[in-house]
Symmetry: D2
Subunit: 303 residues, 4 copies
């Protein structure tokens, strides 16, 4: 398969989708991003990486960071995380408190905000700083030591963190947040504020396609732990559109409101796409379209 | 009517209820209160005050403070408070976030915790410190300048304030909290931590029975504003037992987890009771029983 | 007090409200009612009855019938009804199934539809036909043997009864409906379809103001049972506007989507008002306004 | 791969799980099933079928029937079904009415009971009888004309159908049920009451592994429609354990309270397992264990 030609074809076919949707506007730093950008990168299991469009331009990682903090928690042999967070789809908004109240402070899964806070808190118990650990992992796996925090985004998020603080204090009221609330929220906000390119993201997520092996061949996660993350991505990775994404794309994927999506073809490759315009469920319009074309053209859907 | 004899009879009749129920134990400072205490005071519209039992012993005001902060907000001509908080029963737990999420950050009424936070926040916008304003009002109306904060309770509450902080940040995320979250929560916690006796509380609440007139005859609230508070007390003043309380007692009443209840007989008198043991809805067992006997013996129920 | 003059003054003052609001349109039979009608009747505890406007014109009783089926159930010494239905405000829509699911099939109070179905079912266990028993009570207390069912309304309701059937089957699934579902729903629908005038309704509701005594002086309910009904009316009688009604009117009242409201001044009188235009909570605009004027002019609010 | 040997090994390995869990007891006809039974069948894409244990013994199809009614609706080119039912996980109990109320009568997906009622109703609009159509499909694809309804189960279900009737009337109240409620419920109950063996079920489900091709090679569904069903199975097929099932098994699967599970390995095979003992989420304990072993031994998980 000629990956470059494939990427080029996908980009041409989804051209009408680029610029569509609405850029996240809950913080100024994200609202200013130009909507008509698009990038896509495919990292093969061999480590080879191809890209198209704005694939080298950094964007805001946002919720995609939740994959990496979860992976790090599991890599630390912290299976106990599953006593604090579930693995089932939520059927509610990603930042809802309702389910949390009915289910006594145990978030439904690690990819809704409450669940990600618990993961960050858990990880903070085993590493010095959860956000720095995520950043370090991204740098090493991508081979790019220049990946960093977008401080403007981090500050902007911090200034609009009331909902996140509410979730964190609510978790704490159920005894499901061990660290100091402002500290945990700060680490959470910072890990979301990492700026990364499609290239680096595809490479960083390659361990999910390599059954848990890192880029250097060392084992990060067991095949079973890797399968777990891919399963959670497929059932819970795209907010309230997981069923739709499973159908259209048919791959484990995790999206972020920065417009990025990381998807896995188990055993084959890792794919990162980026387009800032979001649909009404918060997923990148161009990104979903590109992944849809990808599985249609390659037949690499899991279904 | 011989009030002293009435009080004595009530106390005798409810003797078996004294010590029953469960003392609030979510903070150590309240959990230590001896359960077998009971006090009751009746302040007549004339200003005359009678009491029985531990009626001069201070207890923790807790949610009963919500009456006074609401009265102060209304007294400041702040009818605009009703755009920020409703006046209907909630049908949910007093500290639930569910309704708040479904109704976009507008608390159902001023007596659930979220509503009281909004009232405190609103009051903070017109006075220097909401908690001090409540304390000042209690001192003046009771004529007792020694009423003060129970600092041990306040500290204890502050150390267990995650649920309250969650509510406050949640309100802020909907734009329904204007002040700084920690400051508003602190003022809210302190107003709840005021220690007051039945005597002082009955006198302080007399304006509710005097159609808005303060003890010195000056007008604090209009008759209509006073009626509003009494109506909210009757429909929402006793957590999830307002219907039961309306039936058994048949008076506007507001309870607190410190074991106190303040009730109004419009035009006639103000009644304060205290017994630390709570029923499973958070209302004083002995207190409700005493008020039940009171309306049965006097026929002063509103129904 | 000159009751006729009072009624006349009220009618004049609320004239601008007559015709306002929206006539219930969920069934054709109600949608056709001319909106610019208004009637009001006051029945004194002595049995004397005064009226104004369309006070002799029958309208659809609807949910006001819930008072009478509850009274009959209690009159049959059926206190066991309280194990099947609560007495607290609901905070949800009158026909919501949500609360019912969270609270395992026990309706919050007898005045939401689910609660009224349980009461009708309960009553059916002790009388031949619950609807006929309600009709009979209305005829006897009003002295008008011509009160009857509006068959067009009953048929119309039956044809649009899916929500009611859903509630009834849902109750049955929790074991909280003993009779045959279609039969119970039919009796419920028919009791709501009774056509009655303000005059007859005020007289029929007089036992609520007479502490349980029927028109002929015989006892129907104990004072305590009567107080219970009045308390439920005040806290739950006007859908999701009970707090507002308690404030504006300050009397126990029960409304129906036919535009009627029955209110009680304990010890003094029973009042029936009718105006077909409803506010967005389902209560008669002109009716609430008239009762508001009534308590303001007489000072007979319970607060 | 030696399928018979694989099946034999799986059966040996899961032996301790056989008989575990709790047989569905909401109706007598299911409660009487002996718990220590187990069967498993694998139908290869070629049409070849292998089995082990009680793989020829019929059991109650129950919710697995939802796959076939959905497939039939889609096969009739009825994509319009997606305007009446969603495709997302629910996060609520399979028979909950709460989500339905909050989302105005549109069930979350076709595999919760409300969604399946809508599918049955939809299918009834294009075929004579939805249940018979499902039965016919099962007979043709399995090549077994003796598959039939278990009338005892059907009668038993009908006698305990209040919750289903509540759901159906509730849907009708939102205009999302077109047929006569009792008729739709009857067809729904009957399709669930089909008795079928693992062998026949695996063969009948083979079209899901053959990208929509029926056993005779004719096209039933497009590849895209087939992918859709598999995606819904993976995200919503095992009640509130879809995430767990996706992880442990990693295949699209649909379970029923009769103890059966149908799973798909796209492009390869269809698997039916049966063990009457259910876990606390309603999925067969032995069935999930057997599928878990299957994907572990074959590596045929989609992740």
């Amino acid at each position: 398969m000629d990956i470059d030609r494939l990427l080029s074809q996908i980009r041409t076919e989804i051209q009408p989708q680029i610029g569509r949707g609405r850029v996240a506007d809950y913080i100024p730093a994200l609202a200013e991003v130009a909507p008509d950008q698009f990038g896509m990168a495919i990292a093969l299991a061999t480590g080879e990486c191809h890209g198209v469009g704005d694939w080298l331009k950094p964007f805001s990682l946002q919720s995609i960071s939740k994959i990496f903090s979860l992976a790090l928690a599991l890599a630390e042999n912290e299976e106990s995380i599953w006593t604090r967070v579930g693995r089932e789809p939520s059927g509610n908004a990603f930042n809802s408190l309702v389910q949390l109240e009915y289910e006594n402070g145990i978030p439904r899964n690690p990819f809704i905000n409450a669940g990600a806070l618990v993961v960050t808190d858990h990880l903070s118990g085993v590493v010095d700083c959860a956000a720095d650990a995520v950043l370090q992992l991204l740098r090493i796996e991508s081979g790019n030591p220049d990946i960093g925090y977008d401080l403007q985004v981090a500050e902007s998020e911090t200034a609009h963190a009331d909902r996140t603080l509410a979730l964190a204090h609510f978790l704490a009221s159920y005894g499901n947040l061990r660290g100091d609330v402002p500290t945990v929220v700060d680490e959470y906000v910072r890990q979301c504020a990492i700026a990364i390119s499609c290239r680096d993201l595809a490479l960083a997520g390659l361990f999910l396609a390599r059954h848990g092996l890192r880029r250097d061949g060392s084992r990060m996660l067991s095949p079973s732990q890797t399968k777990r993350i891919n399963a959670v991505m497929l059932t819970c990775g795209t907010y309230d559109a997981a069923g739709e994404f499973a159908y259209r794309v048919g791959l484990p994927g995790k999206s972020g409101v920065g417009g990025g999506i990381l998807a896995t073809v188990p055993g084959r490759c890792s794919i990162a796409v980026w387009g800032p315009g979001l649909d009404n469920r918060g997923n990148s319009v161009a990104g979903v379209a590109a992944l849809d074309r990808f599985t249609t053209l390659t037949g690499w859907s899991v279904f």
